[in-house]
Amino acid sequence: MSELSLERGLDALRAEIDAPVAAFFSSCVHCGLCAQACLFYLETGDPQYTPIKKLEPLRRVWEAEFTLFGRLKGLIGLNKKVTDEMLAEWEPLLYDSCTMCGRCSMICPVGNDIQYMIRKTREGMVASGHAPEGLITAAARAVRTGSPMGLKWKTLQVQIEHVEASSGLKVPVDVAGADYLVLLSSMEIINFPEYLEAITKIFDHAGLTWTLSTDCYEATNAGIQIGNKDIAATLVQRIVDAAIKLKVKNVISPECGHAYTAVRWEGPNLIGKSYPFRVFHIIEVLDELRASGRIKTEGKEMDRLSMHDPCNLARKSGVIQQQRNLMDLVADNFVDLKEHGRYQWCCGAGGGVSSNERAAELKMTAFKRKKAQIEEVAPERMVTMCATCRTQLEEGLEEFNMDIPVVGLTELIAEHLVEK
């Protein structure tokens, strides 16, 4: 990233403009309903957070260079230019106040997929040198060390030893020919080691063959969050190489939202070809094991549980019913938040916002939307399946003095397995 410039940024934006983008910008009537779908607007009341307006840099390039009328306007000097000053002004709008949750894309009356275009616009921001410091650092660390938090295998090795000691089970590492290659996120390794223990128990219970890879255990993709295809492709390629080397048939993305988007949906396009393996989110795998009767559970949680759908998993990937099937398996008193599934509200931390220190205060303000939703159904505990969401829920609930613990769905399932 040594030669970042406005011209490179504009080139990156040009390269992102396709038929959907042109159809979307041609259709916007400035109705402003997207603001009603955006937690950053709703919780601040500040119109600058209106989602479609966040795309102004991309829209200007489209109008000036991809429309006949725009070109004519350009000849007589009527087009507004995209400048470095403008991009600097837009940087907080594109990064601090957008989690790419995609809710505006579900609401826009003319059908604009705004989130699709935010992702594209960030490519131009990175190439022009207008990405937030926190994300640049995370991306650089991910490329250099394999983990956005700079984690090394030996840290994971320690976790593995803990898990093996406490579960009495072997955590398979570099096992060629296993059915599943399991990926993790750094945040899980550091903050939620119970996840690794949970899958170790569940897979043993279900009799699956699985493995971790010392070459690549990190599923998260800072390149997707910051918006840089080169970085994103480098990180995805490591997963592909590890999966091919170990000859696995399936790769499991962990309880992390954007990692799933990265490896499941963007990955093949980043490397320009289909994978020789399939990709699942852990929740999909667990539900499949449930459906085929390979998970036997006993007992149920009796307290009032509600659930937060991660945007990347539910609205952006169609994994909505699976987590509810699993909740039914282990929860006696489960209540959904009022707007859930494809209409759920983001926790406020996704899309790189949580790695961007500058956005910390805004992130907590945005959380008020989730807080209100939680208050509406008054659960005793929240369940989710994304480490970033979980951290934000925990921090947010603590900030507002709400005594509601948050648990991961995978560990909840593991707690109810029938002892062999």
């Binding site: 038929a19 259709s27 400035h30 009328f69 009356p109 990937s317 707007e339």
Partner: protein, 220 residues
């Protein structure tokens, strides 16, 4: 064009031809501009299909989800009322149907004039409400440009001039009718170069939206 009748004949003759030509060629250029760009191939394994969900979203996005309706009911209702009113008046007023029949050979039953009259009045009120909302709502203020107001004017003019002509509020009648036809022609000429293109492109946008989400197994 010194007499009212000559003015009317001009709006019905050469001016009409120009307006239709600019509208058709302009809109064609806009559509070519969009589709020419194409889409990159998607190598990710699909969870759902694109075509069905794309077509469903083309229709379903006309309705707001319950949450949005609750949060922005006025906006949604006003938008619905004047869009629907505009379409009813455009396609179900008997003289309009006659015109379409003479141009395309297609026709269908219309609504009685008093009904059209009432719908026109409601549409006008709806358009004025939409304008007031645009002027007062902070989000719309932040988004609005000169074009938004220009487009409001060229949308409002055909409706108000139609209402004036129908009620003979301006005399002589050929002038009133000529002004109505001219207002429609201005709308047609402006259309391809402004956000009015959404009349057509919104359905393309909705299809892409439905297809992008549909591929991932979500009905958008």
């Amino acid at each position: 064009m010194s007499t009212p009748m000559e003015f009317l004949l001009w709006t019905k003759g050469p001016m009409f031809d120009w307006a239709i030509a600019i509208f058709a060629l302009g809109m064609l250029a806009r559509l070519v501009e969009i589709f020419w760009l194409g889409r990159k191939p998607d190598y990710a394994e699909a969870r759902g299909s694109e075509w069905g969900p794309g077509f469903r979203t083309m229709i379903s996005r006309s309705l707001a989800d319950p949450g949005t309706f609750k949060r922005a009911g006025f906006d949604v209702l006003v938008g619905w009322i004047w869009h629907l009113g505009f379409l009813i008046v455009l396609f179900l007023f008997i003289p309009h149907i006659e015109l379409i029949k003479s141009l395309l050979g297609l026709s269908w039953p219309g609504l009685p004039n008093p009904v059209i009259d009432a719908v026109t009045a409601v549409t006008l009120v709806g358009l004025v409400a939409a304008l007031i909302h645009r002027l007062r709502d902070p989000v719309k203020q932040h988004l609005s440009t000169f074009e938004d107001y220009l487009v409001w004017v060229v949308t409002f003019l055909p409706v108000i001039t139609g209402y004036i002509a129908y009620h003979r509020l301006v005399n002589p009648y050929p002038v009133a009718l000529g002004l109505h036809i001219l207002a429609v022609e201005i709308l047609l000429i402006v259309l391809p170069f402004t956000k009015l293109t959404h009349m057509f492109t919104a359905f393309i946008a909705r299809w892409y939206n439905g297809a992008i989400f549909g591929r991932k197994g979500v009905q958008s």
